[in-house]
Amino acid sequence: MTATEEQTLYDVLEVDPASSIDELRAAVERARETYGTQSLAVYALVDEEQLGELRARLDEAEEVLLDPARRASYDRSIGRIGPATLWAEDDEDAAPLPPIEPGPHARAEGLDADDADDADDVEEEEEEAEPPRQHALALEVPAASGLFGRTTGQQTARGAREPARRSAQPEALLSGDWAAAVPGDQATRPVPEAATPVARRERTSAPPPDVPEEIAVPIEEEFPPERTALPPALGLRIRPAPQPPPAEPVFVEPVPPPPAPPPASAAPERPPELPTRPREGKLKLDIPADAEFNGELLRRVRESYGLSLQQVAERTRITRIHLENVEADRYDRLPATVYLRGILVNLARELRLDPARVSKTYLLATQRSHARGS
């Protein structure tokens, strides 16, 4: 409903994420029949634009999910990770990609909210709202706070800005025309990343031990299939009592990492307080310990992992336009230093570089550039 932009590709096909390839193929076929151009069932139901969106998502679902390697990669990108899942075995021959984690987007969000000349970023970010995830609205539970200092408070702050983003709607609703009454603007909503792993855990019902009680509980009141509540397609859940607001988000200064790791051991050991994750990918680039990180180098590192800008944007919640500007060394288009540092630190973590070194050398370069320019 919906919210085809907000749903995972599995949701779009209305299949279980653990479906076999044959089941997926059948689902694609079924969806083509139901939502295709020849289908009576969608005639005059919604406008062409909405149908177009849905069909584009179906194309995407077909392309991605029917290709085992791409499916495995996609599964990771939507947070379908964890030991107790059926599909894990499907992944074995897939190219190892770094597992996704709730991205450190605290700073990226702060940036969006505060950066004054950020207007075009909003648009940009809207384009970036995928891979969209179902249940995003529903999961207004405290995110795994502590991890990168992200808290519900930040998500709420983000939610509060949403109305401004919505374009004015025609008054069709008031004329009783519900053609316009189809979700779609949900597509424009950035999804708190933590929602996804949670949602997945809910499905696989194998919450990892690190899920705090208070996260697991509200989710378990999943809709029974029948009439007790609006179905998930509406992406909505009315909670009887609001969660107590968590503590104000704290902007956590990056923990100073250990001295720059030797490039040979690209999966460095980190101090335990630094949020780390199992690193699978190996950095193939040879980066000198004293390398100065400029946009070009960052781009090469990113490409060496086979990550697209889009993927990095999704993982880090840094808007793509910022990433592009960073990689192109467009210093004059980059945000203020305090935000840029956040971007660099997050990007460096994603690329498994030393965050302190990346931000220090990059910022130095921007300062030199400003000094020259002015």
Partner: protein, 329 residues
Amino acid sequence: MKRYGLNNVVELTRPRPRPDELPGGRRARRIVAVGGGKGGIGKSLVSANLGIALARAGHRVTLVDVDLGGANLHTCLGITQPQGTLSDVVTKGTRIDLLAAPTGIENLSLVSGAMDALDAANPRAQARGRLVEQLQTLDADYVVLDLGAGTSLHTIDFFLLADHGVLVLLPEPTSVENAYRFLKAALFRRLQQTAQAVGVAHLAEAALGSQGSAMRTPAEVVKAVAESNADAAAHLERSLCDFRVKLVVNQVRSPADQSVGRAVVAAWKKFFGLDMDYLGAIAYDDSAWQTVRKRRPLLVDAAGSAASSNVTSVAEALVALDRPRSAVR
């Protein structure tokens, strides 16, 4: 801009949840409204024969022709127009149960809706309210309302009043288009009515977009209301979830037609997030129009036909929906 007024909304108190067994072992009454937006799609044929099928299954059924401008259910049943009609309820205050005429079929009676007064097809709010009230007093296991075409207020109100709103459509673009228009109008009105009933009409209205903020889905309206009034939002949500239409696809001719029903259910769910129950398809069958011309009910005159057995299946599917209901509520 066409708008439904909020001030003359008929108070549609849905019948309270009843125990399935009334004292004396009778089943509780269900109101079934058969609509579909477009004319000529077999609403009356479905209503009449659904009534017959239910009656044959042992339920006490009253058919009520609420196609006020074009009532002809009596013709479908092959009987003459009963003396008293719904008109008397409105103008003379006659009790509706006194109007129920026998149909010659056991367990099945008919209340005719023929109204000859010029504006009778569009009764005023007060008259509608009286009709609605009276309908709910009918003593039967099933009250089957045959709605007229179009999306006039009284048609939609009767549809919303029913325990089961049955949507009839043909596998044709014109019919599908009208059916969706009818559904959207009904859904919209349900939302408005409930919002008004729980005192959040202004919130719902705002959420619907009249004040600049843009909401697109029923769910978003509920969510917006929830921000200021959680109780009201819960009501709204329940009310929207109650909007669970039952679908019948009539005049099915090909295997592709057969799949239309399921596809409509899926598409409605996909875009509106609401469930719909598919009761089944009725085959296109020469015997159907032939029996209409003979002014004989399909189930009586062509009992062995495919269409006839399809209608019986639809009735069974409908009754089946009522069985688990008490458990769900």
